[in-house]
């Protein structure tokens, strides 16, 4: 088997992976970026509205207010040291991107355009802030392409269209790289690395209706779980208030930031009842619940009263074309309507994985060891949506995910550079760990039982089960059945089969391995959700409607071997006073 050696292996080529790769290449370390798709196909490309940073270009702002909003948005489950770090680093992260060439929209004075987004305030809960730096409504595209371009300049080594199967370790559990294969010809390679960074993105394919790309199958989350690393806070899955109803395409929160608002079947501006002050720019969990409640109570729109409308036509065509050209095109393509004339039918849609691989603010993956809740795993890092730092806690604010991937992609790379200075040689890999990874890969080479089910059938069932049993509103019965159904699907997956045994660009095999990962994510999500008997952020229980800080202001940790465990929230920031939990009103 071919072996390649690099200082750092980065798995995933979205914004987090590419930001880290750039930092590492520019520091003259050798870095391999493995991605199952060509880098600019990564899902960062689909981010629309923008990236938060207290630049004060439009409204007076500072990082401390941004920090307050993020802590409040997280429903006090976010770790306040990491949140302080991120909010303080935000302006620099934006300026760096601008220097990399990102074509941000501009204000008349030549500075970066910022728009209002949900959950943003001045002065700790005061007036609406405008904190989201935007390149029209294609900010993710602009950022991802610029980062890839800078990596071309830095001569980063890319393994495009390679699939990472599993992490590899030595006998002490140090992570030393990964087993990967070339999708083009099936060749298997062991990549040995002194440090490995997981930057594989989220698991939005867990749900049937999702804003997420088909590639968002939680691959890094599956790899981590199989390597014995627990997943944190997986019960917190964000449903974006404005996916196109029934189809799932994202309509950016920027549409409401620019002045759009939601109306129900009675033509009423519904958010006035749920968030009298912030209205349509309340936090996403609040707006999603409001829409779901309207529809449940019979105040939806359309013949089936199963959605509400997002009204933009009052903004005028000029504003829509200048600030929201991308979503305008999406509506024309998929709905045959122009939002400059007709409101858009929307419904809460699976969008973002708040949970993930537990890390500290240096990007090091941390696990509980005996009495220490957060012991770094030697050689392993994670950044971006697959990681849980946790800056988003129970509910992410819009505009904070691009910020997260850039700040922590960079932070992880900086820590890796220090690690490499102290650990100059490759350690010896445990051959058993390679054998185990090979088993997981080659399990799909056998045709399996002739009565084995197909991958697509199981995947469709899983997505339907997750949508029915782990959606915006949850309760004991629904979750309990969900746990049983997912467990049963996981057992059935063991006998699933693929017919395609070609070594050339075998997408059936890729989809099978993706389902292995997705199933890991589903188990973690449904078990964590069932156990948490409170309502916090995106996890909303009809049978436990209140937040319960006494028992539940703690992070969930789910592992395949030992089920659920918990660890405390880091409530102490780096330098300022901690924000104690308060009732969350918008």
């Amino acid at each position: 088997m071919k072996r390649r050696q690099f200082d750092t292996l980065i798995i995933g080529a979205g914004g987090g992976g590419l930001r880290a790769a750039l930092q590492l290449s520019n520091a003259d370390t050798s870095v391999a970026v493995v991605s199952k798709v060509f880098p600019t196909r990564s899902h960062t490309v689909a981010a629309q509205g923008g990236m938060n940073a207290a630049l004060s270009n439009v409204t007076q702002d500072n990082w401390h207010w941004h920090m307050f909003d993020t802590v409040k948005g997280s429903d006090y489950l976010g770790d306040q040291d990491a949140i302080e770090y991120m909010c303080r680093a935000a302006p620099k992260a934006v300026y760096e991107l601008e220097h990399f060439g990102v074509p941000f929209s501009r204000l008349d004075n030549g500075s970066i355009y910022q728009r209002p987004f949900g959950g943003q305030s001045q002065n700790f809960g005061g007036d609406q802030a405008a904190r989201t730096c935007a390149a029209a409504d294609r900010t993710g595209h602009a950022i991802l392409h610029s980062l890839y371009q800078q990596n071309i300049h830095a001569k980063t080594h890319f393994f495009d269209e390679y699939f990472a199967v599993d992490l590899l370790k030595d006998e002490e559990g140090h992570v030393l790289g990964a087993l990967v294969f070339n999708i083009h010809d099936g060749e298997i390679i062991v990549i040995e690395a002194k440090t490995t960074l997981l930057a594989t993105g989220g698991a939005g394919q867990l749900f049937r209706t999702t804003t997420n790309a088909l590639i968002n199958t939680g691959d890094g989350l599956g790899m981590a779980l199989r390597a014995g690393i627990p997943l944190q806070d997986m019960e917190f899955f964000q449903f974006h208030p404005t996916g196109i109803a029934g189809r799932g395409m994202l309509i950016t929160e920027g549409a409401r930031g620019e002045g759009g608002y939601l109306v129900n079947g009675d033509g009423e501006r519904l958010m006035e009842r749920y968030a009298p002050k912030a209205k349509d720019l309340a936090s996403r969990d609040v707006v999603s619940r409001a829409i779901a409640t309207e529809v449940r109570d019979g105040r939806g729109c359309g013949p089936n009263k199963d959605h509400v409308m997002l009204k933009l036509d009052h903004l005028g065509e000029a504003v829509i074309q200048k600030r929201l050209p991308g979503i305008r095109q999406t509506c024309i393509t998929f709905l045959g309507i122009d939002p400059a004339e007709t409101p858009i039918p929307v419904f809460p849609t699976a969008h973002y994985t708040m949970g993930g691989i537990p890390t500290n603010r240096y990007g090091q993956v941390v696990v509980p060891v005996k009495d220490t809740p957060e012991e770094p795993v030697f050689g392993l890092y994670a950044a971006g949506e697959c990681a849980c730092v946790s800056v988003h806690g129970a509910n992410r604010l819009g505009g904070n995910s691009l910020l997260d991937i850039l700040v922590f992609g960079r932070a992880a790379a900086n820590h890796i550079i220090e690690h490499l200075a102290e650990n100059r040689y490759h350690l010896t890999m445990d051959e058993n760990s390679i054998d185990k990874a090979m088993e997981n890969l080659q399990r799909w080479d056998q045709k399996g039982k002739t009565d084995g089910e197909s991958v697509s059938q199981l995947r469709d069932e899983l997505k339907a089960v997750m949508e029915e049993h782990c959606s915006v509103f949850r309760n004991e019965d629904v979750l309990k059945q969900g746990v049983e159904k997912v467990e049963q699907l996981a057992r059935r997956l063991k006998d699933a089969r693929i017919d395609d045994q070609s070594s050339v660009f075998n997408t059936a095999k890729v989809e099978a391995l993706e389902l292995d990962n997705l199933m890991c994510c589903a188990l973690a999500t449904i078990h964590s959700a069932y156990a948490r008997t409170e309502s916090r952020g995106a996890h909303s229980r009809m049978d436990y409607t209140e937040r319960d800080d006494k028992h539940w202001m703690r992070h969930s940790l789910y592992s395949l071997e030992s089920g659920l465990d918990y660890k405390p929230v880091r409530t102490k920031p780096m330098s300022v006073d901690s924000f104690p939990p308060k009732p969350r009103v918008y």
Partner: protein, 232 residues
């Protein structure tokens, strides 16, 4: 609904062939990508194609649809004549079925130095750019590298190694037009010669097929104008 799909797997096929598929119960508004995914899930798991975002943003699923290059995910099947003929992007080596080897395409992209070059020291804040200067990038920066344009260009078919092709040249223009970039002279000098830029014969296939509505031919013309001005 009837489909004719190009099939070729070098592992097992001596040569390419067209395969027929038929789907029933077509949902209203169904896109070609959704149809291909249904064929793969329900009829033939071996059918291979790239896909990701499903909404025309990532550029993965460029293919030749009834003779015209486009993105499967934003091509409504109801608007296509049946049987819908689906082939890989033309002029590129076929890896398998609808998947082509894009190496040449990416190589030409890298050749135009597609990154901002600033020679002065960087300020501690953003480089200033007026809204008017920024507007010059509209129609240039939105490219998704799907390859529909370059693989529809006869000049690119004949000289894929020498002619940079519309996608790479659009990208060159994106940096030439950027008020922050300080490598204009080098960029223009790099494009001199009979092939790299000047093989464009304004056939305008690129404009016809671009799924993002961009205009590489105009971008190429603008570069030519800048070259003329510079040589005066």
């Amino acid at each position: 609904m009837k489909f004719k799909v190009y099939r070729y797997n070098p592992d097992v096929d001596a040569k390419p062939y067209m395969q027929d598929y038929e789907l029933e119960d077509i949902e209203p508004g169904m896109m070609l990508l959704a149809a291909l995914l249904r064929i793969k899930d329900e009829l033939d798991e071996t059918l291979s194609f790239r896909r990701s975002c499903g909404e025309g943003v990532c550029g993965s699923d460029g293919m030749n649809i009834n003779g015209t290059n486009g993105l499967a995910c934003i091509s409504p099947v109801a608007e296509l004549k049946q049987p819908i003929e689906v082939r890989p992007l033309p002029g590129q080596p076929v890896v398998r079925d609808l998947i082509v080897d894009m190496d040449q395409f990416y190589q030409q992209y890298r050749a135009v130095k597609p990154y901002l070059i600033v020679k002065d020291p960087m300020p501690e804040v953003e480089l200033p750019q007026t809204p008017e200067q920024r507007e010059k990038l509209d129609g240039l920066y939105e490219c998704i590298l799907c390859g529909c344009c370059s693989t529809a260009c006869p000049s690119f078919w004949w000289n894929p190694d020498k002619f940079l092709g519309p996608a790479a040249l659009l990208q060159a223009s994106r940096f030439i037009e950027d008020s922050r970039d300080q490598a204009l002279d080098e960029r223009l000098a790099d494009l001199e010669g009979p092939f790299k830029l000047f093989r464009c014969h304004t056939i305008m296939n690129c404009v016809q097929v671009c799924p993002k509505g961009l205009n590489p031919t105009k971008a190429i013309g603008d570069i030519k104008k800048k070259m003329v001005t510079r040589s005066l």
